[in-house]
Chain length 364, copies 2
Amino acid sequence: MIIPTNTLFLLKRLSKAIKNLGNKKRTTIKDIANVLDISPAAVSKALHGDSRISAKTIEAVKEVAKKLNYQPNHLASALRKGKSNLVGVIVPKTNSNFFSSVIQNIEEILNKEGYNIIITQSNESFKKECNNIDALLFTQVDGIIASMANETIDLDYYEKIKSYGIPLILFDRGENNLNVDYIGIDDYQSSHLIIEHLVGQGCKRIAHIGGFKHTRIYNNRIRGYVDAIKKHNLPLDDELLFESSLTIEDGREKMNQLLALKNRPDAVYVAGDYAALGALQVLKENRINIPKDIALVGFGNEPFTSMVSPTISSINQHSGEIGRQAALTFLERVKMTPVKQTLNKIILNAELIVRDSSNINWNL
Amino acid sequence: MIIPTNTLFLLKRLSKAIKNLGNKKRTTIKDIANVLDISPAAVSKALHGDSRISAKTIEAVKEVAKKLNYQPNHLASALRKGKSNLVGVIVPKTNSNFFSSVIQNIEEILNKEGYNIIITQSNESFKKECNNIDALLFTQVDGIIASMANETIDLDYYEKIKSYGIPLILFDRGENNLNVDYIGIDDYQSSHLIIEHLVGQGCKRIAHIGGFKHTRIYNNRIRGYVDAIKKHNLPLDDELLFESSLTIEDGREKMNQLLALKNRPDAVYVAGDYAALGALQVLKENRINIPKDIALVGFGNEPFTSMVSPTISSINQHSGEIGRQAALTFLERVKMTPVKQTLNKIILNAELIVRDSSNINWNL
DNA sequence: ACAACTTGCTTAATCGTTTAAGCAGTTGTG
DNA sequence: CACAACTGCTTAAACGATTAAGCAAGTTGT
């Protein structure tokens, strides 16, 4: 056992302090200070490796800290420093591969910089989202990284975050009007990718089951769809374009409506994988040949797209990269004092992953 | 505009304070105290509705608080009260329906009681789990609700939680030796349910792709399998029993091994849905009739089990109820001072959901 | 030899809230 | 009328860590 100090006196204090460990509270810098007979301030500095504290003292402090199992009280230092080193993350749901992967990457980057993250889910409910924001602000987070619920139109609560003077970073489901950082893929361009691909497969009447127009990303996908269709001089028919909640059930519903048309489409581009899955089920139930009769493309590259039969073509949103960029953007913003927010978009190129559901060379 | 006080003097102070809102820091109880010319202590009490503060003062304080957009500093009160009102949740992954649903229910209950939760994921990595525990303890959480990573054998870090004197609640993946609360389903009994069902379908040679034995729940499923097989006097063959990581890939691998047997099984019970999916893929690739030639049952009732074709029979683990019970158990424990931990198991009955993959009346 | 640094600490204030203790003034009780 | 109890506040300490300011002793430069 190496005791950093040689006086019997200090040794006695140490063992007394160790004895007290059992009954009492947690060890504080004061306890360490008492053992070594120096001031708490010196202990604090020693623990932070302050250059004005002698190497000998630093070592002694660290030794005693370890012996007494000292754990810094984060609340105290956060209060004093005005920084909690916590970052709030709000997502519509965690049980989606996209969001779970984004979170994982945010966490990885931020942990390295000493931040911890608080994950909350809105379950696509505006009210829950507001509660989450309040809870995070209440917890004194140093910033918030969020993707909005589908329902969210009123931006007051996001303005509230801004008014706190902490960085707000949006990803995937964002909103220009807030004038904050945004990270996402190029939804407009993604639609083009999909339409090009379907045209290449020989499709001539392409439907789109889109998300709600009021959500920017879905609106962009719809705009992309419309423009790409026009570009290829394909029929742009009102009955081929739907707004949907993009759940499995609604995917089924909209697909049924498409099948009920006199003039059926020969391809369907669905703006979400879950709805695409619903559409797939309906197609199979109706014994429709996929992709020969109707080709299908989803969006999001959820793992199940490669599990179902036929496998579903989809758009890879680079969730990992989105998470990374969101975290890095936060780190940049938080360095500024005072925090300045400006509209700053990072748009990644998406990638179309062609699978059986839209590959005419399959299942001939 | 209703001003709770009638003196011009106070009115002036209020408008001055409101003016200061822009440039300065956040509003504190001190600011409110200054406006009303009372002590910060009185403000604090007023905000908490202390009976020793007059109704008039309480109203005035609340009015000014609203006007100055006062938001309590959680760090300060947490420091003072020695309670952060934060609960840490550790799960192996969030992108599983089971865990995501458990979390949702924990959150719902705890939010009502004024707690917020910090969700962390271990990604089935022991190291990550240790980091998470450290991060949560560092954040001064008031308790931890966790489900262990598959890798976790060394329990030192969990002992560390206990040594902090905060409640530790385990669910699903637990460990008796820690002597803490545990909430889960009856895994042993679930295996019986499955075997009974398969026997009822006429299966006579039932294989089990199980999880790792060192994880209690998987061990229980294996024991249940073995005992149920014995009970029905079916062949209990070493080559029919595997330990697996239960990923899709490993499910594929183990299924391939089963197909390579001279004496193939006529049913496979897989201890996890993802591995069951892998097994399903292999069966389909080998044009094996499901369930006539080989029946299949999974575990966990992940949503995709009802999406794939054929749909996969599985065990519903009552994730919602597990989350609720975990939260309620925490609330009970945290009330005790000092917190007492004892081995206390809440075991829920699981439910077998029979789908096409093990229903002989289907696909004849 | 004396100013000017440097070293290695201490002192005391501070972050924002809570709370035990206490103090006037009022009301109630026997 | 005296004493108790209540009302409505104030004072001051505390939670644990950080940090600006300062001080004493030693070191360096001229």
